[in-house]
């Protein structure tokens, strides 16, 4: 969508957004499916319970990859095509180089390269055809099995102008180089969310005005929500009986 199409789009927002083809893709006939190869994010072995002997269920020997849907190809269906076209027009090379679109379960995820994150979110907020005014915060995720992209940060956006359109932006970085640009200068409300993602996952948000811990004490070592962080706890003794600390009672996976 070209820049001069924006005001026209704005002029008739109500009519435009309540047409049937503007519904989320899960309710449209032409739902795009994830077509690229699924992305393995981890490997799961067995279930909880004993892994050696004593496993009468047989589930202990279960092995499977955790697969996430891969990239989709246009047309995406519903309003997703409008978002993709408008974002492509607004960001140009940043879109072609740094954005992969995944449509899954009727939801749109933009996997954005961290170098292009600020360009993309600024376009998401400012472009008249996008106008995602609301950033509902950012979540950290830790996928230890995804080598080179262990840490993810997920942003959820909603456009109020365009009748509650939603899009998800996902950025990844590695544990060795845990840097993601801060989007606080575009969405100031994301300040504390990024501090929490730093506190819990150790993602460093470059350009954040005051990236300090928000939940744990200031001098706390480590980042508790990472998968390799020990749960801790103490063994409980009571009249001769001892219950071990929770993280040593059984193995989950």
């Amino acid at each position: 969508m070209s820049d001069d199409a924006g005001p026209v789009h704005d002029a008739d927002p109500v009519h435009d957004h309540h047409s049937t083809d503007d519904l989320p893709a899960e309710r449209s006939a032409d739902v795009a499916r994830a077509e690229g190869d699924p992305v393995p994010v981890g490997h799961r072995k067995g279930m909880f319970g004993p892994s050696l002997g004593g496993d009468t269920s047989g589930y202990g020997g279960l092995e499977r990859d955790i697969l996430f849907p891969g990239a989709s190809a246009p047309p995406y269906g519903g309003y997703f095509d409008d978002i993709a076209d408008a974002l492509s027009a607004a960001t140009g090379t940043a879109y072609t180089e740094g954005v992969k679109v995944t449509i899954d379960r009727g939801e749109m995820t933009l996997h954005v390269d961290r170098d292009h994150l600020l360009t993309v979110v600024r376009a998401l907020r400012d472009d008249p055809a996008l106008r995602f005014e609301l950033c509902a915060g950012s979540n950290g995720v830790h996928y230890p099995g995804q080598t080179g992209a262990e840490l993810h940060c997920v942003y959820n956006f909603m456009s109020i102008t365009h009748g509650g359109r939603r899009v998800r932006v996902e950025v990844s970085c590695s544990e060795e180089d845990p840097h993601i640009p801060s989007i606080v200068e575009v969405y100031p409300g994301n300040d504390w969310h990024e501090r929490e993602a730093w506190d819990m996952f150790g993602i460093i948000f470059d350009g954040h005005p005051a990236l300090t811990r928000i939940l744990m004490p200031d001098d706390w070592p480590g980042h508790p929500q990472r998968k390799d962080y020990p749960l801790g706890g103490i063994p409980v003794e009571y009249k001769g009986a001892t219950i071990p600390a929770p993280d040593t009672r059984r193995s989950y996976n």
Partner: protein, 184 residues
Amino acid sequence: MGLEDKLPSGILLTSVEGLVGQMQARSVWPATFGLACCAIEMMAAGTPDYDIARFGMERFAATPRQADLMIVAGRVSQKMAPVVRQIYDQMPNPKWVLAMGVCASSGGMFNNYAIVQGVDHIVPVDIYLPGCPPRPQMLFNALLSLHDSIRQTKFGVDRVEAARKAEAAALASTPTHEMKGLLA
């Protein structure tokens, strides 16, 4: 017999210990703060249904400097621990601490890195109240037990003697970790 027989009507005799104990037990002001779900039950205890005012405790002090009783209502996180200790330090003597619920008493279900495993790690606790969360009636039971012990507080040489007696009894008793067998 003694002095009592010679008193005119309307005069009662008691000891300073007894009088002060009665007065302190009937005007305990709790500090206003709650940490988690137990605080909801503590607030419910203040409603007309349960009416904590029956025990002279409806005046939750908004500053620790006017409070006598710290009701630790909820789990204490490692980050909150220094704050709780500071509130305790700001309360004037005499002061009492009630660990309300299993989390404040022992860490409860939160046996992990983030939660202090019992508020007795950071402040001396006078009475433990189990429950998850304890109902207002259970809180009242704990408060009445605490009032009893406040009323029987000794003074001066009696206090030293009572402390020695309690210590001797504690030393003579079997520690819980040496009790074996039955879990009751």
